[in-house]
Amino acid sequence: MDNLIALLIAAPLLGAAVLLCGGRALDRVGHWLGTVLAAASFVIGAVLFVDMLGKGADARTMHQHLFTWVPVAGFKADMGFQLDQLSMTFVLLISGVGTLIHLYSVGYMAHDERRRRFFGYLNLFLAAMLLLVLADNYLLLYMGWEGVGLASYLLIGFWQHKPSAATAAKKAFLVNRVGDMGLSIAIMLMFTTFGTFAFGGVFGAADGASEGKLTAISLMLLLAACGKSAQVPLQSWLGDAMEGPTPVSALIHAATMVTAGVYLITRSSAVFNGAPNAQLVVVVVGAVTLIFGAIVGCAKDDIKKSLAGSTMSQIGYMILAAGLGPIGYVFAIMHLVTHGFFKAGLFLGAGSVMHGMNDEVDMRKYGGLRRYMPVTFVTFGLGYLAIIGFPGLSGFFSKDKIIEAAFAKGGTEGWILGAVTLLGAAITAYYMTRMMLMTFFGEERWRHAETRSPDAPSAEPAAAGRGAHDEPHPHESPWIMTIPMIVLAVGSVGAGAFFGIGNRFLNWLEPVTGHSEGHSPVSAGVVTTATIVLLLVGVGIAYLQYGRRPVPAVAPRGSLLTRAARRDLLQDDFNHVVLVRGGEHLTRSLVYVDHSLVDGVVNGTAASFGGLSGRLRKVQNGYARSYALSMFGGTAVVVAATLLMRAV
């Protein structure tokens, strides 16, 4: 059974290789090949899952060692895999949601001439992501880590002829690289501290390391997590990443890749547990991002960017939970899984709306769509109820647990964190209700909305094949797109209850991550009630603003905060001024320095020799008299010197 692990990765990898190298011959079947191989990976995962369930809780970890990857005196990295409950959870999530989104893309990308390549990239992503969660050492994890970064780069920039997409892709890769720097430094620290960076070796020896070392490693891992999971201060790429096709946003930038940071922290629990100061930083990062993302989500009119803000915020919840230590790890992962369902569902819903609306992304040009797209409306609505934590749906179970855990942190910190998570829940309810109302309710603003001018960059250029720029005729998407949405909606509704009731998820994951119940100063009932009340407040405010009153088709100027939030709370402007401008000046001046100073020194030496010889040449004037004079002078000097030496 253990030997099946490599197949999990091999199937999509094969797909990527065949689709990307295959050439035009595969254009007609390529998308189905990709989907089948993704499904194959899911099936293998399911088989392994059933097998795992049949074993005792402590005997569930499986290993597969393929070969030694990098063997250099003392530094040994294996091409080896480890499949335990945590990895299993991810494998099922990634391959499951991945397969659904492959299916959806068959419909969504039907008119794109480069569809084969799109599926190749998607398969490449699956392979890299599975490698990330299956690796049994940090270096191999790093390979998956950068691999998903590459796939993300390729997919964000899939419509490369749009400069904005190309720029967004580059930005995502670069910001991720900053995070990757953290991961590589963490691996180096592990190597110098433990002499290994295999999971087993590091976790086994973590107890013996000094707290300082563990803190350093943890902070570097956190930096990596911030990059990949779009946490403050490395969050700026996620909003721009929405330039990619919507299925990509659903799979990579909502359900799976962006949660890799949470995986990394949970996986490294042994290291983080020994570094309380680092955990505090993790919690703070999570809390700040939670609010940050929520505020951004409130201000955006672009449906995908608003959802991206929401993703940021929800991952903030997970990071916060992971930073709480053993009281939070399980809930972080649980929220991650439920979030995978409902956020992927919401994105697919958004894609379906755009599909029917000539790829318009501005929610101010939507309105009243529930009549035209019933399936989308219902599935999106269920996802909406799940994310705001409507009692009984999956978000309720997972988010509630995180809020409880935040309070259970204890002391002032606990109160602050609890308050922040509650506030986040309220804002979530607000912006999601706003989105819901603007899209599916109210008057049909698209009827008298201006048709987009042909030269305005369309968000989804696939539209070109679908006859864009006409007045939109909202319609339901084909079945191949709605089926994945329905499946995900079912997950959004049921997953939470399935996991939460009877602590199923807790019992499943506890052997890997460990768990301890904190002592909450407030009882679970109070927390739940407070959550529901705040939820209703958020929904209520949104209803008053966007339900009762008509939504203006052009965004009002808004308050200072709104305007800042529309610009991602000015972080891009900050980056632009400090990093981009500063960097440009630096490189430009360095180019100058290299040319005129470093090269100048050498050229100057050459020039001065040239000048000197030019001047010395003039001494040779050809007059015998002057040669005689110099002879005479020389003789005189020699005689004088001789006499002087005599005298002394």
Partner: protein, 526 residues
């Protein structure tokens, strides 16, 4: 006496050079095929050497040959290879066929040029490439300091003619400006390296005065038995003499400025020859001569060299970001990479030195891939300026794809071979000098910046009118690029064949320098 494999491996391309040069002026295609066949035969022979080489074998050098040459001065024709030499020999032999194939039309007589029976640029171009190959291969094999010095200097001559005589036709200023720039670059290349070589010559003579022999093995024996007395200051001066020459060749900041000119003005295959093959002699010689002849002085100079290497890494990358010329950008990226190699060598750890050796091989392959594709691109549009391109991926997707893979290799994406070596260098440096290791990781981010900016500006965006209708890669070009890419992926996932060859040699070097790896802090408790 056994068959002299090493001599023959070097003699074959030399013979090829002579034969190619002798092909009649009118038979240009024949000259090309002759050169290609000789380079492939050399590759085959190099493969035999690799197979014959026993990584676990005894003694520092294998397949040794020794003949007395100039008896009075203790100069002998000594050849032998260790793992590092074998790896680089294989790299050289591997790259030359691709260089020749990529430069198939670079020396063609221009249409409408005056017919001249005595003018034979094609023969000259390929003969010079083979001559360089012969000398580089022999320099990887030489275990006699004088012999090495001779080759180190002699390879400048064919390189000079390759740079100065066969420039890039794509020049903004027209033919006149191209010729001026080209001869400037060639002279600059020659002068820099000659100055380095001159200083090295003094040090070579110094070695003879001190040791009484030029033979590496003899000197090692003398050192082991304690018969070699070298004053500390003498050792340091001699070390500096050698190191300066190698630093110029490598090139290390601040003696790097010849490289962008030379790579920018020469044709893409020649640029590959410079950076992927000839420059490797410099870093190789640091490992073989600087460390093994002057272990104490090497340790003494380490901090300064590491700082210079660090400056090279960051400085080269920053300048690459600021370039407007594709080939100069790649040249500055190479400077950054050479910083990594030198840092790995002087970190004095197994990881660092193994990493540096792997880096030499991987950098050769990755730069070749990137540079050759860039050359194909440039030859299509006739311009080296990044701003003249845009949207190429739409019209020539295969070209864009291979360019991207070459770029990703340059930025050391895991899964491609440069990652393994770069990470080893970083780890090796970090375990001894944490601060330097951490600062060097900035190079990772900057590499992503210059590669992706280059890709974005040339390949993505709306299709520029000037690249409209640009043909995609031809079969010949695919034959050049595909094996390189396959090798990048293979060595990225399974570098073991290479590390198996290199590790024992690095172990040997480490023990010569009398260094051991720092122990992990927790090893006692494990």
């Amino acid at each position: 006496m056994s068959f002299p494999f090493l001599t023959v491996t070097a003699a074959l391309p030399a013979a090829g050079a002579i034969v190619t040069a002798a092909v009649p002026a009118a038979r240009r295609t024949a000259a090309k095929w002759t050169a290609l066949l000789f380079s492939i035969a050399t590759l085959a022979l190099a493969a035999v050497v690799v197979v014959k080489f026993d990584p676990g074998g005894s003694g520092p050098f294998q397949l040794t040959e020794s003949h007395t040459w100039i008896k009075d001065f203790g100069v002998s024709y000594d050849l032998g290879v260790d793992g590092i030499g074998v790896a680089l020999l294989a790299l050289t032999a591997l790259l030359i066929p691709f260089v020749i194939l990529a430069g198939w039309h670079d020396a063609d007589v221009l249409e409408g040029a005056e017919p001249n029976r005595r003018w034979r640029p094609t023969q000259g171009f390929f003969a010079l490439i083979l001559a360089v190959e012969a000398m580089v291969i022999l320099s990887f094999e030489a275990t006699d300091v004088f012999l090495f010095y001779l080759l180190f200097e002699a390879m400048l001559i064919p390189m000079y003619f390759l740079i100065g005589g066969f420039g890039d036709r794509a020049h903004a200023g027209g033919d006149e400006a191209a010729a001026t720039q080209r001869s400037y670059a060639a002279v600059k290349f020659l002068l820099y390296n000659l100055v380095g070589g001159l200083i090295m010559l003094a040090a070579v003579i110094g070695v003879y005065v001190v040791a009484g022999t030029f033979s590496l093995t003899d000197i090692a024996h003398l050192r082991a038995s304690g018969d070699l007395s070298m004053a500390t200051s003498t050792e340091r001066w001699l070390f500096l003499g050698f190191f300066f020459a190698f630093a110029v060749k490598a090139p290390l900041w601040p003696v790097h400025t010849w490289l962008p000119n030379a790579m920018g003005e020469s044709t893409a295959p020649v640029a590959v020859l410079i950076t992927a093959v000839v420059d490797k002699v410099g870093t190789f010689a640091m490992l073989r001569f600087c460390l093994q002849l002057f272990p104490e002085a090497s340790k003494w100079a380490t901090p300064v060299i590491l700082v210079l290497a660090l400056i090279s890494i960051v400085y080269g990358a920053l300048l690459a970001v600021g370039q407007r010329d594709i080939k100069r950008l790649i040249a500055y990226a190479s400077i950054s990479h050479f910083g990594f190699i030198i840092m790995g060598i002087f970190a004095m750890t197994s990881q660092g030195q193994s990493g540096a050796t792997l880096y030499m091989v991987n950098h050769g392959i990755s730069t070749a891939a990137l540079m050759l594709v860039a050359g194909f691109l440039i030859s299509r549009r006739g311009s080296r300026l990044i701003s003249d391109y845009g949207g190429v991926q739409k019209v020539a997707p295969v070209l864009a794809g291979t360019f991207l893979i070459g770029g990703l290799a340059t930025l050391s994406l895991p899964g491609l071979s440069p990652f393994v070596s770069e990470f080893l260098v970083l780890v090796g440096t970090f375990s001894r000098y944490p601060v330097i290791g951490i600062i060097a990781t900035i190079g990772i981010v900057l590499a992503a910046l210059y590669v992706l900016v280059l890709y974005q500006r040339t390949m993505t965006g709306p299709v520029k009118a000037t690249v409209q209708g640009m043909p995609d890669l031809k079969v010949r070009e695919l034959v050049v690029v595909a094996p390189l890419i396959a090798l990048l992926i293979f060595l990225g996932v399974y570098p073991k064949p290479l590390t198996d060859i290199v590790n024992p040699a690095v172990h040997q070097t480490m023990s010569q320098v009398d260094q051991t790896d720092p122990h992990p802090q927790l090893e006692a408790s494990r």
